[in-house]
Amino acid sequence: MGNKKNIDRLFQEGFNSFEVAPDDKVWRNIESMLDEKKESKKNIPIWMRYAGIAALLLLFIGGVGVVLLNGQNTGAIVNTPENEHRILDKEEGNSVKEGTHEVLVYDKGDKSAVIQSNKENLLKDDVVVRVKTETDLLGEENKLNDFKSSTDEGESELFVGNSSVTVNVSSVTVNSENQKLRELLLKNKSDLKGVKSVTNSKLHKSLIVKEDAFVLNKNITEEKEVDQVVENRVVHDDKVNTKRNDNVIVGDSEEVVDKELGFQKRKEKKLLGKIGNEDNKLSVVLGENVVDKNKVLVDNQKYTNSEKQVIVRVDSIGLVSGDDVTLSAKLTDDALKNSEDNKEVIGDVAGKELVENPVEKTIEEAIAELEELKEEEEEEEENVAFDKWKISPRIAPVFYNTLSTGSPIDNELSNNKKKGQLTMSYGLGVGYVINNRLTVRAGINNVELGYDTQDVAIYSSPETSDSGPRLKNINFEPGASSLNLVSSDGFSISQIPSSFSLLFDSSLNQRLGYLEVPLELSYKVSDKKMKIDLIAGVSTFFLNKNEIYTEVDEKLRYIGEANNLNKVSYSTNIGFGFNYKISNAFNFNFEPMFKYQLNAFSKDSGNFRPYILGVYSGFSFKF
């Protein structure tokens, strides 16, 4: 009873000789689990993870693409009466109501018509063709008022298959009134982008929109003339019209016309179609409903002896206004082509009655052709007109790893397994387009990198922090001064001062952060809707984060920083770029890049050769 004892000693002595054997089932469990492990110990290869990411992105691209393509087809605006009608005010003369964009084509003869067309309608599957005819207005007697009142008369709708085009044809005063009308139209330049007069045949007229190289060239010269016309507000006499282009163009300004010239070169859209009007002698006013921008329309008319056609060329102005592709329709005078005919026409115009003409092509065909042309044109556009600069915000999952064994932390850990981490990089890129193929790119990215060194044993040596084998490339922070780390690989008890204070399954997590400034050259190898680039270059890395953690049971503990990291380092980069064009100015990019770091560590990097795999994606805007 009186024999007292320290309780610690009681337990220590007691358990010295204490042993209990475990149940046999424990071994059986262990055995079965060892068997299982053999089979399940297959890691998912890295490339599969990346393939997964890539697949997701492709799906996304596809989705966006489908939506956008659908949008193009369905987003057309159908003409509303508001758009179709022009209001010509009695007192003030003719004015074009806001929101309507028309080109007037005057007939030297008796009648004139207003054709209002809307490109979007033309492109749409389901477009209504309306032909408004006006037969009452004749010659010099016609008044503007009459014009107004008559616009609704004689409206007819043609449905051609699924496709139809909205064309309003109204008569307009001609001859002496032309001048007035033009002047009035000039007053309303903001609304009226272009005016065109065309001499007209008496009876029947087919309207053809057609591609023609002659026409293209000619139009350019014509438009130059037109400039003058605009400046001087010269009114063309009917005779002049018939002789030369049969047109007058009234533009907003020279600038508009110039733009037109520019865009005409690149973007020529031609619609071939005919509209037969019964018994109309017509002047044609061709107009466009354009969502944001309206363009001057240059219309030329072509008469051939035999066919009596009006050739209408339709231009798209998509370049200027972006997605809301605007359309100008042009009546093109094909005088160059058929000068003799034209002369005859001139004669005709003076009073010859034209014979009704069989329709050569249906509007349906014309629309089909137009669509085809539009596609061609877009491709052309890409070749001819590219914007020099693009800016592209981007984000990327980046994977950091080493090509060889070796540890930048200590030789002790050089044989330990390293596990790269998937982190994020984001930034902004700027590209300068040198030519169709080559682009110089620069930018700035923030990038975080990290990797684990696995199988590290951590123990603390409480007495002296210097006694144990410390990892030489870490500057330990004060709170971690008692920590020692060794590879559980080359484990040696003699290295450890006090027994047992050891954590086995830990790893060392090194985290680096950089500001990356890439300078790269990309070379376009494929130029389809999905462009493919080869990219190569160098990056400069500016260190902005340097941390080392121990990781035990997914708990991180900051222990210090590496002392062998260079503040500035470089990498060589190579990769592919996939660019998906969403619109002229807007691309989706997807760029798997491999970046090999050259001198990230200043010394003792232990043959650690880090690289960065990143899948950069983002949007680029051209300007």
Partner: protein, 183 residues
């Protein structure tokens, strides 16, 4: 077969060698597990997990130092991990009790009883008591291992001792009564 040969074979995943190694050390390590665990079943689980770790990591044992010591560390680590995951250790208040000498009268105390009262201790007390008293870790080491402060380690140890003492004395008192009644 020498231990070295056994280890080499175990590194090659030789199942027979693994079984032999288990046979050699299971008892010793299971006893260790018993002290660190709440009960018999948990000890078995720990032993199982520890041996799986040993077999997986045996390639990392390069023959420096005691193999038994290496295995013991794994066992203890396995036991500790269970509680780290449960984070029972975080909630301990740090009221820096002074280490005091706790003494009990020595009488008939069975090992089974000692083990029983150790296992009955709350986890946080049991681990600290085992690490400090039975396996010789310093408070500083314990603090590192359990991610607690040294003060907490000390106060937990002190409480563990008091609880154990109380249980031993209670047991002795009962035994005494029984003896007296038995007279």
């Amino acid at each position: 077969m020498s231990l070295e040969q056994l280890i080499i074979k175990c590194k090659k995943n030789n199942r027979k060698a693994q079984g032999e190694l288990y046979g050699l050390y299971a008892t010793k390590l299971f006893t260790l597990c018993l002290k660190y665990s709440k009960n018999y079943a948990e000890s078995e689980d720990n032993l199982q997990d520890a041996f799986l770790t040993i077999f997986n990591k045996i390639k990392q044992y390069k023959g420096n130092g005691s193999f038994e010591g290496w295995m013991k560390r794994i066992v203890i680590n396995t036991a500790l991990q269970r509680y780290r995951k449960a984070s029972v250790l975080d909630v301990i208040k740090d009221d820096d009790l002074e280490e005091e000498l706790v003494e009990v009268e020595v009488s008939q105390v069975s090992l089974e009883f000692l083990l029983e009262i150790i296992q009955e201790l709350p986890d946080k007390y049991r681990l600290v008591f085992n690490l400090y008293v039975l396996d010789g870790f310093s408070h500083r080491e314990i603090a590192e291992m359990l991610n607690i402060s040294t003060g907490t380690s000390k106060s937990n140890l002190s409480r563990a001792r008091k609880i154990l003492k109380g249980k031993i004395e209670e047991n002795q008192f009962i035994n005494k009564k029984l003896l007296e009644n038995g007279k």
